[in-house]
């Protein structure tokens, strides 16, 4: 009994020191100089634009990752061809690599002097330092989440139901829509939640590919860093609060249906810490640069 209390205490203190206190203090500092100051900071033109851009990027990158994530999971679980394990392993690369490296590699390929970048520039399409680059960086970094959530579910349900549907006269797409999709719904919803949280909070890859041009290619995380660099702590904290609220909204909409969460293969308790975890690096790197000064 006593040991259990000690264990609980240790865990609580650990979580408090890492999450509750730092995030709480961000909220506290944001409204330190009044709600009006915080409001003004995020409703300034750069702040509003950063919010807008972040939402747009998420609105494009998340559906992309959802569609391709399900596609990859379907191929890995349902197709047997040499090299399929390679595809499985490739998906994890964005998780293994630092986002900065992912961003840098995108610049190498899609930059004006890059392999594809030159051709694309010839067609008048600018990828790097522009919206497409930011979307690609976010989509690349967040690709594994949907795959990793959906794949185990697909393997667990097997192909019996899909084959049964086929014998009953369903076309492949009908089988997917009416049998496969409903079966993976819970895992997919959770994967999309994680993807969204990751895309909203992505900093490293975006800071490399976007060029951080205020009012043009500045996402919320970059806005926070910029505010710190410009000695505008209220802007930084208010931006952080905005980002956190945005992430909480996503969790609230996608991640709280208890029935769906119970069906997810992973334990439900992972939801909030991991999404905060994707928020925290951006804040952490922001405060590091503050100390550099």
């Amino acid at each position: 009994m006593r040991r259990r209390i000690v264990l609980r205490g240790v865990v609580l203190v650990y979580v408090s020191l890492l999450v509750t206190v730092p995030v709480g203090s961000v909220f506290y500092r944001a409204f330190d100089r009044g709600v009006a100051a915080a409001w003004d900071a995020v409703t300034s033109p750069p702040g509003l634009h950063a919010l807008w851009l972040t939402v747009i990027v998420a609105a494009i990158a998340v559906p992309l990752d959802a569609v391709f994530g399900v596609g990859v999971a379907l191929i890995v679980s349902r197709h047997r061809f040499p090299g399929v394990f390679l595809l499985d392993a490739l998906v994890d690369i964005p998780l293994a690599l630092s986002p900065v490296v992912v961003g840098l590699s995108l610049v190498l390929v899609y930059g004006v002097t890059g392999w594809f970048g030159r051709t694309l520039a010839g067609w008048g399409i600018q990828v790097i330092f522009s919206l497409p680059g930011i979307v690609m960086a976010c989509a690349a970094v967040a690709l594994p989440y949907v795959v990793r959530e959906v794949l185990p579910v697909l393997e667990e349900i097997g192909t019996d139901q899909e084959q049964a549907a086929a014998t009953l006269g369903a076309r492949p797409f009908t089988v997917f829509r009416r049998i496969t999709l409903p079966s993976i719904r819970a895992g997919l919803a959770y994967g999309v939640t994680l993807t969204t949280a990751r895309v909203l909070g992505e900093f490293g890859a975006v800071s490399i590919v976007s060029g951080n041009i205020e009012g043009r290619t500045q996402t919320l995380t970059l806005f926070i860093q910029d505010s710190i660099n410009n000695l505008n702590p209220v802007g930084a904290y208010a931006g952080s609060v905005l980002l956190a609220v945005l992430a909480f909204c996503v969790l609230g909409i996608l991640g709280t249906d208890p029935k769906k969460r119970r069906l997810s293969w992973r334990s439900t308790s992972a939801t909030s810490p991991s999404s905060l975890g994707t928020l925290l690096p951006s804040m952490a790197s922001a405060s590091v640069s503050q100390q550099d000064r």
């Binding site: 349900i157 019996d160 139901q161 084959q163 049964a164 549907a165 086929a166 014998t167 009953l168 006269g169 369903a170 076309r171 009908t174 009416r178 049998i179 409903p182 079966s183």
Partner: protein, 281 residues
């Protein structure tokens, strides 16, 4: 084999014909076969009613017709009372009948049953066996039924095909196969066998005689053990040359002979007996 007939797998050689039409290259969804999977493959996210309706819904049949037809089928397989439940809330037997109703909904030209009673306990299995025969008389659809239980096969089938290691050994009526097996495998697969005079015979085709009425061909033997198994009596014998055999006697016959261990008897083959046909391999 069922998977090939259904079109889920491709045959290495040969063709699949249904009602005289070559189906070998027809895609699964157009074959119109009703497939009951071994583990039923219920659509877990759909109710029993929606499971059964699936085949009709994807065929875009009008709603009232689907409803009427599903009601009929649920009634037919006697699960109408659980129509709004999900598969996870059904017993094994109910799930089995739901899978059957789902397969029947599309009015298949062939019904494929892959060990349909394999996962059920013996009693339910017996019930369903009788029920399936009855059902079959009502709906008359060619049915391929795969089972490892030869008794089940004999009880249900009009025609039996014995497959051994992927090779078709013999096709025929249950009686035919039992009495005129093409080879030793079929003989020993369809029922108990014992060796007598270097030949496999059915234990109930060995006749035990007392000293009085023995035929000329009978061989002397010693009774080793007499086991009463209800209606039948199993008699383990040691033949004169030392080889073992066993015979299956009716209770009445055994009582007549009043056999006990150590008795000296005479053993012969019955005149009407199962013999391996010599014409084909």
């Amino acid at each position: 084999m069922l998977r090939i007939v259904a079109g889920l797998e491709e045959p290495d050689a040969g063709t699949v014909e249904v009602d005289g039409r070559d189906m070998t290259n027809v895609p699964v969804r157009e074959r119109g076969v009703g497939f009951c999977f071994q583990h039923y493959a219920p659509f877990r996210h759909l109710t029993v009613r929606r499971n059964v309706a699936f085949g009709l819904e994807v065929r875009k049949r009008p709603k009232p017709e689907v409803r009427r037809r599903v009601d009929e089928l649920l009634e037919l397989v006697r699960i109408a009372h659980v129509a709004e439940r999900y598969p996870s809330q059904l017993s094994g037997g109910q799930r089995q009948r739901m899978a059957l109703a789902r397969a029947l909904a599309i009015e298949p030209s062939v019904l494929l049953l892959d060990e349909p009673f394999g996962a059920l306990d013996a009693q339910v299995r017996q019930q369903l066996r009788g029920w399936l025969r009855e059902l079959h008389e009502k709906i008359a659809v060619t049915t391929l039924f795969v089972t490892h239980d030869q008794e089940e096969a004999m009880a249900i089938a009009d025609r039996l095909a014995v497959i051994n290691n992927g090779r078709l050994e013999q096709v025929g009526s249950p009686g035919d196969l039992y009495d005129h097996p093409a080879n030793d495998f079929v003989l020993s697969f369809l029922g108990p066998v014992t060796e007598f005079d270097g030949e496999l015979v059915r234990p109930h085709d060995l006749v035990v005689h007392g000293d009085g009425d023995r035929p000329v061909s009978a061989r002397p033997a010693v009774v080793e053990r007499v086991t009463h198994l209800g209606f039948e009596v199993r008699v383990d014998l040691r033949l004169d040359r030392g080889d073992a055999a066993w015979a299956q006697l009716s209770r009445g016959h055994a009582a007549e002979l009043s056999l006990s261990a150590g008795d000296r008897v005479w053993v012969a083959r019955a005149v009407e007996r199962a013999v391996v046909a010599t014409t084909s391999a």
